[in-house]
């Protein structure tokens, strides 16, 4: 993995239902705005360690860090379009995924 140059958040999928999750202060959350943002490498490593523990505890799968930029209104916004898509849902079905929930998340 190349060295991160931006803050990072930890993404995963819920084992039971497959929904995209983000690691927050108190545990996994479904809204990226509540994700814990790692500002440096030690903080990112700490996120990863918590993620690995939850893989072992059979809570989540497919855990990885994604670089983000911080938007004051929208919260952490992944630099890559793939992860930006995971924050919201399919661009061709705005009625589905996280974007369809009452308190819509930003993209």
């Amino acid at each position: 993995m190349t060295k991160a140059t931006h803050p990072q958040i930890l993404l995963a999928s819920d084992l039971r239902d497959g929904e995209v999750l983000f690691l927050g202060a108190e545990g996994w959350v479904r809204d990226a705005r509540a994700a814990t943002v790692a500002q440096d490498a030690p903080a990112a490593a700490a996120l990863e360690a918590r993620g690995k523990a939850d893989i072992a505890a059979n809570k989540v799968v497919d855990v990885y860090l994604a670089e983000v930029e911080l938007d004051p209104a929208l919260g952490p916004r992944p630099l890559h379009y793939r992860e930006r898509a995971r924050l919201v849902g399919p661009s061709v079905r705005r009625d589905l995924g996280k974007q369809a929930q009452a308190d819509k998340v930003g993209s």
């Binding site: 999928s13 039971r16 497959g18 995209v20 893989i55 059979n58 898509a85 661009s91």
Partner: protein, 574 residues
């Protein structure tokens, strides 16, 4: 094969002309559901790690995608009963989000199932003789076939009995459940190839030898993905009696020599390419000659039992031409447009084959809502002996419709937004789910399809342009078959942005060809404009009755590069 009950044959009053499970089949699928239910329980309990569980869930069609799990349901050789279609709708409503996606492999994908619900979904499928076995994993996948099987005017033999025979042979085959890579087989029995048999690991074409005996041309090593190849013939005529043994020999040679060190070079197409056709054919023939063929001896009784299920439905004796149909065409221009584009000649006088387009203008290719699935089931029940087909072009086919019923059918379909008259035209676009759903994708493909469809929404102009296949993939794996589109579009990542390469000249039929790259990639916003320019060149230069593909072959790639250059001058990202 002999485990099947030979007394279980097609019933005279069977609702359709499709294979019906006997007690053996039912027990087999039920045991698989029970097994997966237990595996899911053990995964949730932590007795199985994800690394241990992943191959098990994949063998049952369950993927983890960008936003959720995805369940791929097998539709053997694309044939469905109306009862099965209704069950697919029920599952969409109960455990998913009210729709499904018909794929280029004639399967159906649910985009939002929960792992905890999957055993119940599989049980609901098993109740209607369906499953998701071997829709993923390095095994022999769902065998596909011509969607016009049994009804095409150019057909020598219905390919579905062969496909079903192979499905039973390949299901949980102990030697071929962990191949170097996935393995796909397609079967066609007609003069015209509608199953893309030259682009499968094995393609079979049923035909007759000089004595009139049925057998198979065996084509090996075709495929798309990052290294596309046209399949090569290893046997021009294989007697039917040798079918299983010969395929067993091919798979054994592949299993032995196929590369396992590099997943990108593990398909049999690479083995054919690296070994050479001559040597590989020798290896296959040597294995075939040396093997103990007794376990694979052709079971004529079983083949005939299977064939009995695919007997023609009880057609009425009708005049070749329906006055009611012709009268309705004269009176209703919209129906006439549908009839001229989506209705195909049937081998039985007075009947027709209807292609129901799942490509509404600006819609998502291959998607159908649960309500639409129920309408399709009703259409099959009222007008088509309860049978439906899924095509690899992501459309639905009603294979046995009386011409007298076409107008009533069209009205039913039109009321459910299922009567878009564009089968085979420029807006009948094949597209993989791309980065809107797929974890492997490098770019979105559906929005590109939607933009092209909107650009060419004028149906009269579509008919003027004529037959034209646009196929779009969201990554190099080519699930959208872009290599074999007359116009192909491949979505890639370029410097952190989505970029689209355009290819021309692909051909999925027996005159098989892989598309040639037009030039550097363009940004998403420019794809429809480049295609519009290509179409302008074609319309300007074509001869009377000449299809886009034929005009491209005559004029050459260089002539069409002008379209891309023009967009480049306008500042496209090339």
């Amino acid at each position: 094969m002999n485990a099947h009950d030979q007394r279980h044959a097609a019933r005279a009053n069977a609702p359709t002309t499709t294979y019906l499970y006997d007690a053996y089949d039912k027990a087999f699928v039920k045991s698989r559901v029970d097994e997966f239910r237990e595996q899911v329980r053990r995964r949730l309990d932590g007795a199985l790690s994800e690394d241990e569980f992943r191959p098990l869930r994949l063998m049952n069609g369950l993927y983890l995608q960008l936003h959720a799990y995805m369940l791929r349901v097998a539709i053997p050789y694309g044939t469905l009963t109306s009862r099965q279609m209704r069950r697919l709708a029920e599952i969409a409503d109960k455990w998913d989000k009210g729709y499904g996606h018909f794929t280029t492999r004639q399967n159906l994908q649910y985009n939002w199932p929960k792992l905890v619900d999957t055993p119940d979904i599989l049980e609901a499928l098993a109740d209607v003789e369906m499953h998701a076995i071997q829709t993923s994993g390095n095994c022999i996948r769902n065998v596909t076939a011509d969607q016009f099987a049994g009804v095409a005017t150019d057909e020598f033999e219905d390919p579905r009995p062969t496909a079903e025979f192979l499905r039973q042979w390949s299901s949980l085959h102990p030697e071929f459940s962990f191949l170097p890579r996935k393995f796909k087989i397609a079967v066609s029995g007609a003069k015209e190839d509608r199953a893309a048999i030259k682009f499968h690991d094995i393609g079979l074409r049923v035909h007759a030898n000089e004595r009139g005996e049925a057998g198979y041309e065996v084509i090996v090593g075709g495929g798309l993905g990052r290294s596309p190849f046209v399949g090569k013939t290893v046997r021009a005529f294989l007697p039917r009696a040798d079918l299983l043994a010969y395929l067993e020999a091919i798979l054994r040679v592949y299993n032995r020599f196929g590369r396992r060190d590099n997943k990108y070079k593990a398909r049999i197409k690479i083995l054919v390419h690296e070994t050479g056709l001559e040597q590989l054919t020798r290896e296959i023939e040597t294995e075939f000659a040396a093997m103990d063929r007794a376990p694979f001896a052709f079971d004529l009784e079983e083949f005939e039992r299977i064939r009995g299920f695919f007997a023609p439905p009880p057609y009425e004796t009708l005049p070749a031409r329906s006055e009611a149909f012709e009268e309705a065409r004269r009176k209703d221009a919209a129906f006439d447009a549908f009839a001229s584009v989506n209705v195909t000649e049937h081998k039985i006088p007075g009947y027709a084959i209807v292609t129901v387009s799942l490509k509404p203008i600006g819609g998502i290719p291959g998607d159908a809502t649960s309500d639409q699935m129920r309408v399709l089931a009703e259409a099959a029940e009222r007008f088509g002996f309860g049978e439906l087909r899924v095509s690899h072009a992501q459309n639905i086919v009603l294979p046995h419709v009386k011409q007298d019923d076409l107008f009533a059918l069209w009205r039913l379909l039109d009321g459910a937004k299922l009567a878009t008259p564009n089968a085979g035209l420029i807006s009948d676009i094949v597209s993989c789910p791309g980065l809107d759903y797929c974890a492997l994708a490098t770019a979105r493909s559906i929005p590109i399809a939607q933009a092209i469809s909107e650009r060419f929404k004028d149906l009269e102009r579509q008919r003027l342009i004529g037959e034209l296949g646009i196929k779009i993939s969201g990554c190099i794996n080519a699930c959208g078959h872009h290599h074999i589109g007359a116009i192909g579009v491949l979505g890639l990542e370029k410097r952190g942005k989505e970029s689209y390469q355009i290819t021309l000249g692909g051909d999925p039929t027996l005159s098989a060809a892989i598309g040639e790259l037009l030039g550097p990639g363009v940004v998403a916003e420019d794809v429809a404009t480049v295609i519009e320019s290509l179409i302008e060149i074609y319309l300007r230069e074509r001869r009377e009755g000449e299809r886009f593909l034929d005009a491209w072959r005559r004029l050459g790639q260089a002539r069409f590069k002008e379209a891309l250059l023009r967009e480049g001058e306008d500042g496209a990202d090339i």
